[in-house]
């Protein structure tokens, strides 16, 4: 059985922000690659879906972008996290760990 799971709802934004926070400025491909690397094959990511996510994050002012040249000398948009994005990430990460811990306690208690 394929134990790769779909991207849980609402976590893609968090993953993108975290990636940009740790690696600095990246283009869409770089972000997608990094997420897949970190997931170590545990995640079924359609790489295209990060683009609407990037637009959404940029509209919210959490990341910014500008055009630059990629490794193979094609024009690519490079994204980086903003101060507001870092704050959001911190808040969301905290939120997320609390949820995970709570779920873990609950599931352990049940079994």
């Amino acid at each position: 059985m394929d134990n790769r799971s779909e991207v849980p709802y609402g976590t893609l934004d968090l993953m993108v922000l975290r990636t940009l926070e740790s690696l600095g400025t990246l283009h869409g491909y770089g972000i997608a690659r990094r997420i897949e690397q970190v997931a170590q094959g545990a995640l079924e990511l359609n790489q295209g879906t990060i683009y609407p996510a990037l637009l959404r994050l940029e509209q919210k002012g959490w990341i910014t972008s500008e055009w630059g040249a990629s490794d193979n000398n094609r024009r690519a948009r490079f994204y980086s996290i903003t101060r507001a994005g870092r704050k959001q990430l911190a808040a969301e990460a905290e939120n997320w760990s609390r949820t995970v811990a709570m779920m873990a306690r609950m599931l352990e208690g049940e079994s």
């Binding site: 491909y29 790489q47 295209g48 879906t49 683009y51 509209q59 990629s70 193979n72 094609r74």
Partner: protein, 864 residues
Amino acid sequence: MTWPRVLLWRLFRRGRAPAELEEEMAAHRALLAVEYRRRGMAPEAAEAESRRQFAGTTQIREQYRATQRLPLLDSLAQDVAYALRQLRASPGFTAAAVLTLALGIGANLAIYRVLDAVLFRDLPVRDPAGLVQVQLLESHDPQRVSYPLFRELAARQHVLEGMFAVSDVALPTPEGARGYLASGAYFRTLGVQARLGRVFTEEDDRPGAPPVAVLSDAFWRRSGLALGQTLQLHGARAAIIGVAPPGFYGETPGAARDFWVPMSLQPLVTPGDRINGAAYSWLSIIGRLRPGITARQAEAALDPLFREFAHLTVTRFGRSYRARVAPANRGIGDLDRRFERPLWLLMGMVGLVLAMLCSNLANLLLGRAAVRSHEIGVRLALGAGRGRIVRQLLTESLVLAAVGVGAALPLGSRGASALVSLAGTGAGLPLETGWHEAVFTIAVALICTCIFGLAPALAATRAGVLSALQPQSRTTAGARRRYFGNSLVVAQVSVSLVLISGAALFARSLWNLRNQDFGLDREVVLVDIPLELTPQAIARQRALVWPLYERVNALPGVRSAAVSAFGPMSSLVRTTGVSTPDRPAQRTDLTRLVCVSPQYFETMGIPIVEGRGITDSDRAGAPPAVVLNQSAARALFGGAPAAGRFVSQSDHYDSKTALQVIGVARDVRFSSARDPFGFVLYVPIAQSAAPVTGLVLRATGNPGILAAIKGIDPNLKVGPVRTYGEAFDAGLGNDKLLAAIAGAFGLIALALSYAGVYGVLSYAVERRTHEIGIRIALGSGRKGIYRMVLREAALLLAASLVLGGAGAVAGTRALRGTLFGFAAADYLLPLLAAALLGLAAFAASYLPARRAAHLDPVDALRQD
């Protein structure tokens, strides 16, 4: 709520073009392919794998677009574009609608702008809310105060940051400019800085300081004067030290000031020493409250000072005096009080006219909706929601309203300035635009849109898909349209009834004013000889009394002539006190003094009702004589004969200076239509040493009066030569203006009603063509058809007259206070207006009725 963020994003980053996404995705796929090749795949396989990994591009594009979408805004943009296309497609309708709206909204804007300037606008100074007027109340009447009183108050008070005294009497200047005296703290207290040079201060107001003047911006531009030049003001030559900022018109709205000079110049520029004399009450005081002090606290603090020093101003024995501190954020003066009523009346009238225009427009739109019912049916059938279509139709109305407002803006500002100049007062009234006006305009546009747009849009979409698509369905949709149309016409005719009766009442009031009993002969010719209040001018005109009297009486063609000082319609009025041994002067007395030569009453046509008039025998040295008017005689002697009794020309009777009453003259309207008669003392000019300020004469032909005056003193300024009636008429500016505007609105209302009734009946006839054809085919006579159509008109009219009649009666009751000489019989005027409207309505229904009666039944039946 994500849309505000998305809106900002789209406004400032202009969104992201789809092409950019394509480029990003292509770059991404290329990098993927490179990666797969690096892992050892063949180029084609790498390409295919990268495409597999990067799947669902259509979905991604769609998602990407959705993230940037603003559903309401995008459909609004669509609607506006569609509306513009629709309006362009029918230029005739659009032009008519825009013109209608522009006129209606423009008129409303014009009146509103004046109303705003007169009633709502603060003085253009720093923090106007802190300004207060400090008044001395005699019983309940505010009094002007003397300078000595002001000086004491200013030195002793602690509740005001600053206070100043200002006079509203224009200084005599050779250039005809209007200059005013103000104490040194004037500009500092108001918080007004010079735009050029400097304003004057308390330093410039010390006695003996070099004379200075500050010009208003408008006068500075108009006169071409420069800083450092001087203004000659009788005994002083004032150096121009500064120019006030543009828009600053002084402390009295509606009374433009050209320049200000410090109070200390007064003894040099006008007669008398008012700086040290307590016998003049001529100043208004304005102050600025210290922070944290309320007007009430200031009043409490100033009141003891006023009581203590009231003797320094003109006070009368036995009266009580106290202080009043009132907000002066809108300045002082009576502009608002004088114009509040007429302006609200005009506002009401233009509002009604606009409502009529809107209902007319609603009728037009209803017609358009009927024409478009097929299109709307198709759109409903294709799945458009009713709300969506109503929104689209409303957008069309809104676009119309917006274009109309655009055209109305210039009309509004023109109209406002025209109104101010027609009213003849309020020169220098700042007609500025502001957020008040923006809010008003938008509100008017939105209300109009709702009035003329909503009902037709709802009616157009109510019919439903089936009936809209079926050609025979005209009856149901049509019935609804007729119902709306009829109510609109009833509303229109009712409103016109109100407007037309209003116009009739104003016209009647004007007629009453002009044809009232003036107590004299309106045809007498008056020549005003203005008097400058300088000692030289007074002496010169005093010496001219008898030379003028004799010269004018000797002119060929002059039947009788007399000279006078301070007579009716004169530019100067002199008031005095009057008392008898039994009755000292009362606070409510209004007593005018008129100095007249022999033949005055005969020339003016003022009947002497008791005793005799003033004759040659009442010369200097003869016993002092006086002629009273009827009001004075009645009040002073209680109906007993007055001739032979004595009065004093002062507040308290003094037998040593008493004048003997030699006669009683009829009451005369003195200077304006609504002038109360008051008391008048006519004294012989020979016994009064008064300067001549007017000539009155009756003549046949043109005796060349101006040339005769010039022959005696070529430098004497002479005002207009006109009959009393003309002079009186000139003072009716506001009444004429109101009557004219009301009349114009009445005519518009009549025309709109005519058009409305005509439209509704034409439609009714057209809709019933088939039925009428059958009736005629079955033998119904022409008369019957006429009767059928006219009955419909009569029903409409009856409903309107009931509604409008109630409105007209209510309006008449509300207007009663404003109308001159209103009598109960004037309630007939609305009836007359109703008759006029009835006539118009039947005239409007005649054509459709005729068309119906002369239908060819064969054509009519073939139509569908």
